[in-house]
Subunit: 205 residues, 3 copies
Amino acid sequence: MDVTFIIDILGTLAFAISGALTAMKKQLDPFGIFIIAIVTALGGGTLRDLLIDAPIVWMRDLTYIYVIGVATLLAVIFRERLNYIRKSLFLFDTIGIGLYTIIGVEKGIEADFPPLICIALGTMSACFGGVIRDILCTEIPIIFRKNVYATACILGGAVYFVLLYTKLPNVAIVAISGGTVVLIRILAVTFNISLPNIYKKEIVK
Amino acid sequence: MDVTFIIDILGTLAFAISGALTAMKKQLDPFGIFIIAIVTALGGGTLRDLLIDAPIVWMRDLTYIYVIGVATLLAVIFRERLNYIRKSLFLFDTIGIGLYTIIGVEKGIEADFPPLICIALGTMSACFGGVIRDILCTEIPIIFRKNVYATACILGGAVYFVLLYTKLPNVAIVAISGGTVVLIRILAVTFNISLPNIYKKEIVK
Amino acid sequence: MDVTFIIDILGTLAFAISGALTAMKKQLDPFGIFIIAIVTALGGGTLRDLLIDAPIVWMRDLTYIYVIGVATLLAVIFRERLNYIRKSLFLFDTIGIGLYTIIGVEKGIEADFPPLICIALGTMSACFGGVIRDILCTEIPIIFRKNVYATACILGGAVYFVLLYTKLPNVAIVAISGGTVVLIRILAVTFNISLPNIYKKEIVK
């Protein structure tokens, strides 16, 4: 059990809990909660694998489904107390998107796509589970409105490619670029930074 | 023309009519009604085939599209009288999900996926056309809120795997597990059974 | 740089601007606008390529992403002045759907699908980017409500197959069938033609 695997599992756990919470806000039933949890945790990677025509990992390795099952159970049982661990959840989630971004970037490199597409695949891995979650709950995806989430992934992916030109070992490249995602997201949330608002008040729909 | 084929066609017909009815409730135009009918009838199987990288049947065998065309026409022409045949529709639809579930499970076994994923593929075949239909009509998917539909598929799929350990011939396994889906759904609708509600009144959004 | 390529780029530009405009109506942030522009311009072709298991062009050739980036920038900068060039936009968009339809039909023929499916693939290439755009913005897709857009593609695709039986050279077949899409769409918009309304007033939901 290496570190990457543990982070992957913690990230899946955090994504699944975030999905279950959204589903419970919409008063879905237990089956609906479980499906939204699955889609939030695995949707981004699945879309990426469909686009690059790669096999879909969770369909062969059931660990992910089990983890999401446990996460859904925990979220349902402790739904009124999840506020108390919101900070730990945020941390897992943030580390999760850092890791998912790098996994996506590396899958793109392996399949020989251009850097820009690899960064897009990384961002998709980290963010599109949440997009599908929001669509299934008939919300406009939150990352289209508050997107430092995605910006962090894009910048982290870019750092990855810059570092490829150095002679750093792969583990350092992964740690630094993944860390960039985590750092930007934490800074953005801490200092409440978001992309510039391009709308004047009077254009409100 | 064997029995499976006839059931498949009747199931497609019922799914397509259910799609057309939802589309007409949203006042879509004839093209929109046809597309929603197609998506309801074929969306679940198409998603399944994308995930397991199998060829998509309706793109090579036009029977399905013709049946859906006829179903759409019938639904549009008789839209004010469909209430009178609601019971026959429910029966076709229910037999359809039973059959679609087993088709999905068997496709998963053929492609050598673990049992849990095969059951998921069966449930997806039977239920996700309706999910896409609801999303295209900007509704939260009904099976996330009233899910005995999906539960019936999951249990029927589980029965299939239990029966695999007996020495029953395949046709009996298919009939019993498919019949389980049908039976559970009919019982659930008749006795108005649904998954436990986990929400207290005061959590209403 | 041949004519087809230039039309393809102009079509992508027009589709991307239409996506960016929809996104700005929903007050999305710059990242959201860019994603909606991408999805509008490339979503239909991507779905087509997933269904026919073909490689996805924009993931290998970055021209499309660059064009969409420029289109997004232009749309954001000139968002208050886009009304003045609405007519040019409509023209590009219309030529774009004509071209996208024919590209889709030809991809279907190459992969040896039946004519009806090829026409569906053409229509999908031209129209489903807009469907995904509307879903991501939680609107019922506009082409399900005002569908001369799709009808034009279907008729243009049918003309393509009729012309295949003549001895016309390919370039003429492409020009005439693509031109049919453009002509029908322009006529429909000019004379405000739409599919027959099948709803009586009293069925309003």
